[in-house]
Symmetry: C2
Amino acid sequence: MPSEFELIRRYFTHRARHAVLGVGDDAALVNVRRGCELVVSTDMLLAGRHFLRDADPAQLGHKALAVNLSDLAAMGAFPRWATLALALPRADTRWLAAFSRGFMTLARRFDVDLIGGDTTRGPLNICVQIMGEVPRGTALLRSGARAGDDIWVSGVLGDAALALAALKRRIRLRPAELARCAAKLHRPQPRIALGLALRGVAHSAIDISDGLLADLEHILERSAVAAEIELVALPASSILRRYLDRVAACSALLAGGDDYELCFTASRQARERIARIGQRARIALTRIGRIHAPARGTPRLVVRAADGTALRPVRGGYDHFL
Amino acid sequence: MPSEFELIRRYFTHRARHAVLGVGDDAALVNVRRGCELVVSTDMLLAGRHFLRDADPAQLGHKALAVNLSDLAAMGAFPRWATLALALPRADTRWLAAFSRGFMTLARRFDVDLIGGDTTRGPLNICVQIMGEVPRGTALLRSGARAGDDIWVSGVLGDAALALAALKRRIRLRPAELARCAAKLHRPQPRIALGLALRGVAHSAIDISDGLLADLEHILERSAVAAEIELVALPASSILRRYLDRVAACSALLAGGDDYELCFTASRQARERIARIGQRARIALTRIGRIHAPARGTPRLVVRAADGTALRPVRGGYDHFL
């Protein structure tokens, strides 16, 4: 294996644009802008758990950074810096070249400096930490939802999980359908511009990484509120709609994860403003339900089918009764 | 396995003292002090590579944070915040309780907030990112060594590597000797106070994690200088001295790694000041050699034995010819 230092030099040394000192010392040095808070998040991705063992390394490089950027999007933050710790079974230079290409291409697109890292030999493990900036006091939090808020999501949900279900042979898609859904799974697009535009408008926000229901639950818990959403209102691709009579597709939509869209809440009065934000960011923004005050003895989160009945979770997903 | 959220809550939610927002949202929010640069470093530790598979989890929690703190010490930075990403084969709550105790005890000692993290199921992997602050322009760098500088190291070198050699049965130590050296291996003490005191005094610094020679080489490379050090000047414990006729011990001293002491350079004029810094920090500081201008055709780093001859590296370590 080439030494750690050689690997770092070859694939991960790029001129830092927003750093006093980048890769190459015991630590990196950066300046956080005056009046800004530093926003910090970390995600660890493992082969066989967060991606398939034969995953394309360039897509993996993209995704490892994208899922971290998505956390900053949910905070309404400007991405600035990242560190990357990488455990590799062997120094496969072809793999590393492709991985770093995927990672660095996305980093450049969002003007993110890779300022530090670590490489070691071991079972494939990718740990990224992302850092960004947000003007003091303006970050979008999970804890700000209020009774009466609309609940919104960006884009469409469930395609990534539908692709994964197909790759795991739980559902059959046509080749062209699988290709389109797999692109969502492998190359999620962090909603940075949307997150920035929602500051001062949304009351709360989260990115949908574990599935709409699980992530919306985090907003409800942190905000001490309850919610109802309507199944028919959920934005789904024409592909996913075609399979909605299958439990796997319905579960992908509600609980699939890997969407990396934003779920946020805002007052009724903000509807027009939000519509304009969606137009400007060129992304569909869909109202899917409403926040209300919690009531004892009723579930915190209810999903209603078209006929008004509440969905019940079934083993392995959600059955929508339609 | 208890859910990720349960694990985080149970073991890693502590009141953040220096954070606007700690664990529990998509990202953490912190304020970097005015006039300070943010200092960032990351280290990934793997079972079987950086620690033995049956390592004590409390010691591991200590060490995972300590090696990261050591990077901040080498920069002369105040530690402030950390994130922790953890892959675990299974949710062993006893293991987690001990690990978090080791980690958080050291965190509290250095007033570090754990502000974020990630837990996932997989081969044991510990990835810590550490963040600190340093007044703008005062960080200790690898790149500042100048011809004529003294080379210094803190503490004693090689005990940790000697313990590892004994645990791997490459050398036999008496039980009491092994116990003392193993404590250095398992519970390194980051030299934060020393690093802070050396700002404005040392011209360059690095922490000794890969062994004195390898780490001093980084200073020489980044500073474009050369160096000579004297074997007899190297600070070693009475235990290590007893085994100095063995290649394993001599190699541990020169190239063992896991010392987490500081190696730094400073002008001759700073000798008295450095002596006082050592007294105040209650740590031995030892001059081990001298920086000089690089000369074509001569090695960048020469280690001299007592008789003036240069050491030559041998397979598996260094032979000191004595």
